[in-house]
């Protein structure tokens, strides 16, 4: 197996002095599709925040391609290939769709790539960030992160609050993104069924720890595993 692109070793992290994550060991490999499932408050968002440097790392190591990035600021981690699509989307309201994308554009990224992935954004490119529907905002948040050309995309509950038809469209986009064999996609979701349908590997979290780490197929085959570990079913 190839070396992991990201490795967390015995990580304890949280907000300020509060510890949310405890003793996290996790490796993410190039081209991997990883689902991260757990109830509210399980520590999924904190884990993504810790990878991006948005939370306080109390103990342990976070490595990117073997290099310790625990002390690096978020923009440096982004420059090294980590891209986060936050749960809150954080669209810049005073900027148009196109300006939101341009604000993050790097290297040889082009607007056309973003519009090819999300044709709807091209139609709305002159609209302000807050004139978009929830689904369009999510598309913009994803496209904006892609403008930074990440090798690892961290998607924090991207389907939350969206209509089923939009969720289906977004899942197709995630499939498209993951088709690049060098790009890893980490999907944090409460919709276990959708996440497991997408992923090849699944991590279950509860109370700030990883309680299960294995092939997504195992959880699809035996949904009672989900219930046993995190107290949720496939329909959550």
């Amino acid at each position: 197996m190839a070396d992991p692109v990201i490795e967390m070793k015995n990580v304890t992290a949280g907000y300020g002095p509060t510890h949310i994550l405890r003793g996290i060991d996790l490796a993410i490999y190039p081209g991997e599709r990883l689902a991260m499932i757990g109830r509210n408050g399980a520590g999924k968002t904190t884990l993504l925040g810790t990878l991006m440097g948005l939370t306080r790392l109390h103990d342990g190591q976070v490595q990117l391609r073997g290099k310790d990035i625990g002390d690096l600021q978020p923009f440096r981690r982004n420059g090294l290939g980590l891209g986060l699509v936050p749960q809150t989307r954080d669209i810049f309201p005073s900027l148009t769709v196109e300006e939101n994308l341009q604000s993050a554009m790097r290297g040889d990224a082009t607007l056309d790539e973003a519009y090819a992935l999300f044709p709807r954004l091209k139609e709305r490119r002159r609209n302000g960030g807050m004139q978009l529907s929830g689904g369009e905002q999510q598309m913009l948040a994803i496209a904006r992160t892609l403008m930074t050309q990440p090798d690892v995309i961290l998607l924090d509950e991207p389907l939350e609050g969206l209509a089923p038809v939009i969720c289906e469209q977004l899942m197709e986009v995630f499939e498209n993104l993951a088709s690049d064999s060098k790009r890893s996609v980490v999907l944090v979701e409460q919709h276990a069924e959708a996440a497991l349908a997408f992923a090849t590997r699944a991590v279950l979290m509860a109370n700030g720890t990883i309680v299960h780490d294995g092939p997504a197929q195992d959880l699809r085959d035996d949904p009672t595993l989900l219930h046993r570990h995190v107290g949720v079913g496939l329909d959550v």
Partner: protein, 317 residues
């Protein structure tokens, strides 16, 4: 064509000022210089979201630098502008290393402190700056070696207007660039910008330095046109007035900075001439009215009127 309306209106405004104040071109020139200062504040506060009441520090540094440059080195106006811009940028860079680590009220207080320190240094360094008597003896060469600075102020006005137009065009390009868009992103969500790869501290510092250079140009113009630099260039009142002008016109719009400055200075001029004791009431009432009824500034007046008319029609229907 629609994209040309606003710049054309601004040029017409500049031409109108020349004809509105034919016997007081010094005042019209002062308005244009203040537009440049307020534009610099708009970049720093309106776009980058850096609250400051010390923009006068860079303005004063630019004024003294241009004045001293003209007296001791070279009296060419454009070389003096570069000297002023460099002085403003260097002061912004040095102070910005510390200032950009602060935020909110702390940052505001620190910016005031920087201007106060500059004021005191200029006051104490009497041998260089002239202290409380001001820096005198500035004589400028003709603009392009052709246009002498005349007593009426025609050359001074058009020279200042030309510089203001260039500064404005530069800022229009800057705020539409990825750097400028990034500044607006930082203003709205620094954490998000950080997570999409923007070095927030350095971007804010860069904006502060560019803003400082532009304020320095405004200061340099003051020194060259008035041929005198006084300690008042560092005064808190100047920085505070610049902020009021920006709020009045509308922040983060560039055109708002120009409109706010022209309206503020014209009302100030007229009110003070009519009632030297109570003119501040007029200014205060105007600012209050704008803040309450047009929170986005005078630049939002046409949109507000349109909404009002449409609302009235809908209400009547």
């Amino acid at each position: 064509m629609r994209n040309l309306i606003a710049p054309l209106a601004l040029i017409l405004l500049g031409v109108a000022l020349f004809f509105l104040f034919p016997y007081n071109l010094a005042f019209a020139t002062r308005i244009v210089i203040m537009v440049i200062l307020v534009l610099s504040l708009d970049l720093v506060l309106g776009y980058a979201g850096i609250p400051t009441l010390g923009q006068g520090a860079m303005y004063g540094a630019g004024a003294y630098a241009a004045g001293l440059f003209a007296i001791h080195i070279w009296a060419d106006p454009f070389a003096g502008l570069i000297a002023g811009a460099l002085a403003g940028a260097i002061l912004a860079l040095i102070s910005g290393f510390v200032l950009m680590r602060a935020s909110g009220l702390t940052l505001i207080m620190l910016t005031i402190a920087v201007a106060s320190i500059c004021h005191e240094i200029a006051n104490r360094a009497r041998g260089v700056t002239g202290g409380a008597d001001g820096l005198r003896g500035i004589r400028m060469d003709p603009v392009f070696g052709i246009f002498e600075f005349d007593f009426i102020g025609v050359t001074g006005y058009w020279y200042t207007f030309g510089v203001a137009a260039l500064v404005f065009a530069f800022l229009v390009i800057l705020v539409r660039s990825p750097f400028g868009l990034g500044l607006r992103g930082i203003h709205e969500s620094p954490d998000r910008m950080m997570a999409i790869g923007a070095p927030v501290y350095w971007r804010r510092l860069a904006a502060y330095v560019v803003g400082g250079a532009i304020a320095g140009i405004a200061g340099a113009l003051t020194a060259q046109i008035s041929q005198l630099v006084s300690l008042e260039t560092f005064a808190f009142a100047l920085s505070a007035e610049a902020m009021i002008m920006l709020i009045l016109g509308g922040m983060g719009r560039l055109y708002g900075a120009a409109i706010g400055t022209v309206v503020f200075m014209w009302v100030h001029h007229t009110a003070a001439a009519n009632d030297p004791f109570n003119w501040l009431f007029v200014i205060g009432a105007m600012v209050l009215a704008v803040v309450f009824f047009l929170p986005s500034g005078l630049i939002s007046l046409p949109a507000a009127v349109t909404r009002l008319i449409k609302g009235g029609r809908n209400g009547g229907a």
